[in-house]
Symmetry: C2
Subunit: 423 residues, 2 copies
Amino acid sequence: MRIEIICTGDEVLTGKIVNTNFSYMSQKLEDVGLSVHWGTTVGDDRESLLAAFQLASQRADAVIVNGGLGPTIDDLSQEIAAQAAGVDLVLNEEWLEKMETFFTKRSRIMPPNNRKQAMLPTTAEMIDNPIGTACGFALDIGRARFFFTPGVPRELRRMLEEQVIPRLLARSGAPATIYLKRFHSYGIGESHADALLNDIEELVPDGSVKLGFRAHYPQLETKLTIRGTDKDDVRRRLEPVQTAVRERLGNFILAEDDQTLEGVVLAELTRQGGTLALVETFTSGQIAARIGHLPGAEHVLRCGVTVRERTALHRALDIQGFGLAGDLSQETTEAVARAAREHAGATHALAVLIDLDDGPDRIDFGGTIWIAIATADDVSFRRSRILGGREWVRLGAVELGMDCLRRYLQGLPVVERIDFEKT
Amino acid sequence: MRIEIICTGDEVLTGKIVNTNFSYMSQKLEDVGLSVHWGTTVGDDRESLLAAFQLASQRADAVIVNGGLGPTIDDLSQEIAAQAAGVDLVLNEEWLEKMETFFTKRSRIMPPNNRKQAMLPTTAEMIDNPIGTACGFALDIGRARFFFTPGVPRELRRMLEEQVIPRLLARSGAPATIYLKRFHSYGIGESHADALLNDIEELVPDGSVKLGFRAHYPQLETKLTIRGTDKDDVRRRLEPVQTAVRERLGNFILAEDDQTLEGVVLAELTRQGGTLALVETFTSGQIAARIGHLPGAEHVLRCGVTVRERTALHRALDIQGFGLAGDLSQETTEAVARAAREHAGATHALAVLIDLDDGPDRIDFGGTIWIAIATADDVSFRRSRILGGREWVRLGAVELGMDCLRRYLQGLPVVERIDFEKT
């Protein structure tokens, strides 16, 4: 099935906003085994919209149009859809009533121009939008089925997942059930992961399991798309493949599906009744910022301290008696973690100290990262060197520090070589 | 002049990467008074590429193609460009030599498949890429001039600004000099700014000054595009308009052009020989993270402290004698800022304390933000209430805290009503 996407709106066309709706839709379709063949971006302009609809209607089997369903005069999707399909617009009483209820519930009166949002082409199938006033709809233009979706991201997401994708899957004749399993890892590059996993699709020889990757430094997402007749069938096919992925990526898997590294760390500390102290230098609050705003972190994050000159730690942690002025050492890093734990009165402390290279930023600019994790009667240490410019070092140090803590909390080795470090 | 953009590559089409190159190019063209009429996204696929080139060649005067200039087998731009123009590919000796030098300088031998990057259509004008091996080029297909650019963002940026835009401006017959002046503000919404500034284009009655906005919460960018015959002419036209913008947006302007709020705060503290202590609660390190990683911050950011429970400040700042357990007050907030300054031994301290609403996240979830700035013999206070969900409160508090510090350092009133607060 040939699918196209048309994104509409002056804000997207002029680059005022980055078109994340396109990549979102395209990824979601990939995840269920469908693929987008062509993308078009046009502004709020009658001539361009009509031309875009007509061209897509000649090439595609299905077209998703995003945007242009709002109440203002530059929202033209319904009007041009009707024109392209050669039909009239008619007031949809059901949607008008829904909108009126929507406003009444919020103790507001519906402005008159919202009425426009209930005008649909006569041949349109209404598609529900449970969280907004933009009415989705589908209709045929030429040989293609067009699906019109709202530009507001959270409304689009809900409509795409609940309404549009099931309709596309039904049209594509794909098996009824498709499942996406995701693994998040840190420390293995995409080509390395590919080499480790390239034969796992063959564990299910009928081609119903597809392997894919999405790299967003420093993490890598490994994705398995499984097609089956029903949930049980999918589970049966997934089982041997996910076991193999877990075995081969092993300790590097930091989270699965919707979990995040910071969420896993927070959950593990909460489960153990633990509290956390943080010490940061060049990462300057980035580690605290990943964890601290999460619901529940108020019971776990006791204190985060950021300094840019290590000697300021004497004062910040109210300590004396070990040197911070010279080169870093394992002893010093561990002493900082121990002092931070005591100073905050926490069960766990993570110290991430960085010796940055001198000079201006450049591609081979690096940093040496000194990490210690302290508890009442234990301390773990990890040192690493990362190159790639100031920003790369900073991002890498945040992730490495948090992942060492995750490993520690899960009883895994804190020291295990990663692909991004130089030794 | 009608301009189109064609973005190529499976990674963009499948949404594996978000297409920031498109919005970047489109914005850059808008900034010089040109505009994009149509955007197309296709994968690394011969048939789609050829169709995209042919369609654009019938509609546009100029087309920018992005991506597909690499050394691998799925990089097809040169090949399909030649096919669409009805010409052959020929080895460009000049570019081959450049690439060989490129590798030699890096003590590497050029892999044989890089040779492919020097194969250009016979009618192509070479466009220099001073920082990569992908050779840019321009040629006519149908009625349109096509410009082929690399997909690597920093190579694209350099080539677009230095090579492509001057060629487009020359073709468009626009005045020789175009200048973009930008003002960054915090606290004024886009429609409010528009109401304040909507008549300023008329200060230069010949239409050579254009006003535009780009909102990225919580900041707003106000843009003036000025066309003139030369630099002096541009400066003369800009002068009265930029004076008017500065008068009307006044204290809300936090930075101009490439400056940032955090850069301005850091520069002002550096200029005053000052050092900084920070105290954060729900923003949990975000303020420290905005400033701390900047070059030069090692001399300014003395210590940042993050806690999620205010009572933990007794321990973190080594203080006693004022209450943190009950409701916040101006006195408590000011005392925290004073204590943080003394504890860190800094000249300035910024404390941003937040009382979050209870319950689950929702659109009217809010927070009360308590801000104090302390120096040796002075303290300033600001309270605000922001609604809009947890994330909105967090972003707003980071910006408001930093902007209060900017105002304090610049001798401006710290308390001035903003559009985003409820009172």
